[in-house]
């Protein structure tokens, strides 16, 4: 097992990884930017090293700095968290070349899965349905328009490489597609080093359901159930739950076996997630595979009792999975709300500032993953996630009741948050009945919801 791990991330996920390392008796080195010098994870880490200025491109995304920090601190492995370098195959490759274990899949597997066109082709070859779309990257405007004409609007323009909803645009007509294409090209060039984009049919009123997988380097592969992530706004997930509500058990079984088939064919090891879109008629389509820990892994942990970060670390150290498929039990239901520093009254604009007062919820069946404390500063350089509030219940309705209670006692002052929107969603009759789809939040907001 590793004796020292470098955590190449910030915010709540840095703390999340640090906690498991502590429980495993592994020393932690936190690589942080100049803006995160006073963060909670910097306070709790065994060692810290400042790797660059606040701008992520010069610190958290700077491969030479992160590797140099790992080398001077003599670590065995690097945990990339999610975002930043987590799905950067070049980084995984440099780690391998520097004899530092990258906690995630191998560079080769990552390169294959993170190229979404290639992942789609792999799925097709395994007879896993993929959303109708272009066969490969679209290079010209006329090509894009003819693909869109054959698919029928609306279509969705996606980056071949990237995640977290970035580089994603929906177009409802030719003019919107032309604009989206030029904007997407700029955005993609800035964030993903010039990867191309492709076009997919945008499936309306569909549900976003994903399957959590764990595989080790000995060929063992298990699924850990699904997560329902349809409560999103502009392709950013806001509320996730497990199990998916109101879904035919045949469909979930089909998702599990498709996810396992894909990961097996790719030779996947580590924690990964296969994302699908499911429509009302029981059809499902593969969207992409995320070769990393997900923000919403917490709800899977709540119902399975498995520490996913611990499994990731064990797998990276060459150990076998600590359980087999039939030993995995899922109990009850869990919901996560991502508390973001965003202003619902100002188009959900991210709002940096000082959190003057912060009182997280507590009590029975509540888990809070956060890096925030009273008086801390939310820097303008990074994402707006302040805290993840997770509620567990013996049933979905019990989990919702506990979440309502937890949100009611949460205090965040100094920056606006998405809490008012969540209170509204959790009270909404359609949400309570489980009648949700990926358009739920947009229509709620369009009707003036979530304004406080």
């Amino acid at each position: 097992m590793f004796s020292r791990i470098l955590i190449a991330n910030r915010g709540e996920v840095a703390l999340r990884i640090l906690r498991t390392c502590r429980e495993m008796g592994i020393k932690t080195v936190l690589a942080h930017s100049a803006a995160d010098r006073n963060s909670l994870s910097a306070r709790f880490a065994d060692q810290t090293v400042c790797i660059g200025p606040a701008q992520a491109s010069d610190s958290y995304l700077n491969i030479p700095s992160v590797i140099s920090a790992a080398e001077i601190n003599n670590v065995d492995a690097i945990h990339p968290g999610y975002g930043f370098l987590a799905e950067n195959a070049d980084f995984a490759e440099v780690c391998e070349a520097s004899n530092i274990r990258f906690i995630g899949p191998t560079a080769r597997v990552m390169r294959r899965l993170c190229d979404k066109v290639e992942a789609r082709n792999l799925a097709r070859s395994l007879r896993i349905p993929v959303a109708p779309g272009s066969d490969g990257p679209v290079s010209t405007e006329s090509e894009a328009l003819s693909v869109a004409a054959s698919l029928g609007y609306p279509v969705i323009l996606k980056s071949c490489c990237g995640g977290g909803g970035r580089g994603l645009r929906v177009a409802h007509n030719d003019i919107a597609l032309r604009n989206a294409l030029s904007l997407a090209r700029n955005e993609i060039a800035n964030s993903f080093g010039g990867a191309g984009c492709y076009i997919e049919k945008c499936l309306q009123n569909a549900r976003h359901i994903e399957v959590q997988l764990l595989g080790d380097s000995h060929g063992n592969l298990v699924h850990m159930g699904e997560r329902e992530c349809s409560i999103q706004r502009r392709h950013q997930k806001l509320i996730e739950e497990t199990p998916a509500t109101g879904i035919n058990p045949d469909l979930t079984q089909a998702l599990y076996s498709a996810a396992l088939k894909l990961a097996k064919a790719a030779g996947y090891s580590g924690a990964g997630t296969v994302e699908f879109i499911a429509d009302r008629n029981g059809n499902f389509y593969f969207i992409e595979m995320n070769a990393r820990l997900q923000v919403e892994h917490t709800i899977t942990e709540m119902v399975t009792g498995v520490d996913l970060v611990r499994e990731q670390i064990r797998i990276a150290a060459g150990e076998k999975l600590s359980f087999v498929q039939k030993e995995l039990r899922r109990r009850g239901a869990a919901i996560e709300c991502r508390i973001n520093a965003e202003d619902p009254g100002a188009g959900f604009r991210a709002s940096a500032g000082t959190v003057t007062s912060f009182i997280p919820p507590g009590g029975r069946n509540v888990r809070v993953d956060t890096h925030v404390c009273s008086g801390c500063v939310v820097p303008p350089h990074y994402d707006s996630l302040l805290a993840k509030i997770v509620a567990w219940g013996g049933s979905r309705s019990e989990a919702i009741t506990t979440m309502n209670r937890a949100l009611a006692e949460t205090v965040v002052e100094g920056v606006p948050t998405t809490i008012p929107l969540y209170r509204e969603i959790l009270r909404h009759a359609r949400f309570i009945e489980g009648l949700i789809d990926t358009n739920f939040v947009d229509s709620l907001v369009a009707a003036g919801g979530g304004m406080r």
Binding site: A34, A35, P53, V377, G414
Partner: protein, 166 residues
């Protein structure tokens, strides 16, 4: 009513105590509020008053006291140390600090050395690359702060220099 005040880092919410007030008195009241809270700028919009006040000079309080992140110099930056006319040569990267080109070699600079902006003061090794670090200031090296072959982080002070007129 939309009352917003921008402080150096924080936000303040203003409550108007008396709805009927002479506009000039209201402005005087706002100036007092700005002084009390060290605000540089204030913008108020009310049914009978719309005003924006801005102070010519910045407030005396340093921003650190407001819980702002510590502002570090840019790569290779320098900062004046309070009371003394010294500047720091800070590390522009994370890596291993070397004072000389070889283990037995003479240090590039010693305490008392006079450096020019382009004088090589040390080497920082990051990912097997030897990065030459220049003084970027003219002056006398007063102290070498980092040990040879020790790890240094971004922004860490490596040398203290007393600047000399160029």
């Amino acid at each position: 009513m939309n009352d917003n005040a921008t402080a150096a880092g924080g936000r303040a919410r203003l409550l108007r105590k008396n709805a009927i007030m002479d506009p000039l008195d209201r402005v005087r009241q706002l100036i007092e509020i700005m002084k009390e809270n060290d605000l540089v700028e204030i913008e108020v919009e009310e049914p009978d008053l719309k005003v924006r006040l801005k102070r010519a000079e910045a407030p005396a309080k340093p921003s650190e006291e407001r819980g702002q992140p510590l502002q570090l110099p840019d790569a290779g930056g320098k900062r004046l140390l309070e009371g003394q006319e010294l500047v720091e040569i800070a590390s522009p990267m994370v890596g291993t600090f070397y004072r000389s080109s070889s283990p037995s070699g003479k240090p590039f600079v010693e305490e008392g050395s006079i450096v020019e902006p382009d004088t090589l003061v040390c080497i920082i090794e990051a990912m097997k690359v030897m990065n030459e670090i220049r003084a970027e200031v003219r002056g006398e090296v007063v102290r070498a702060l980092a040990d040879n072959a020790s790890p240094v982080e971004f922004g860490q002070a490596l040398f203290l220099v007393r600047p000399l007129p160029g």
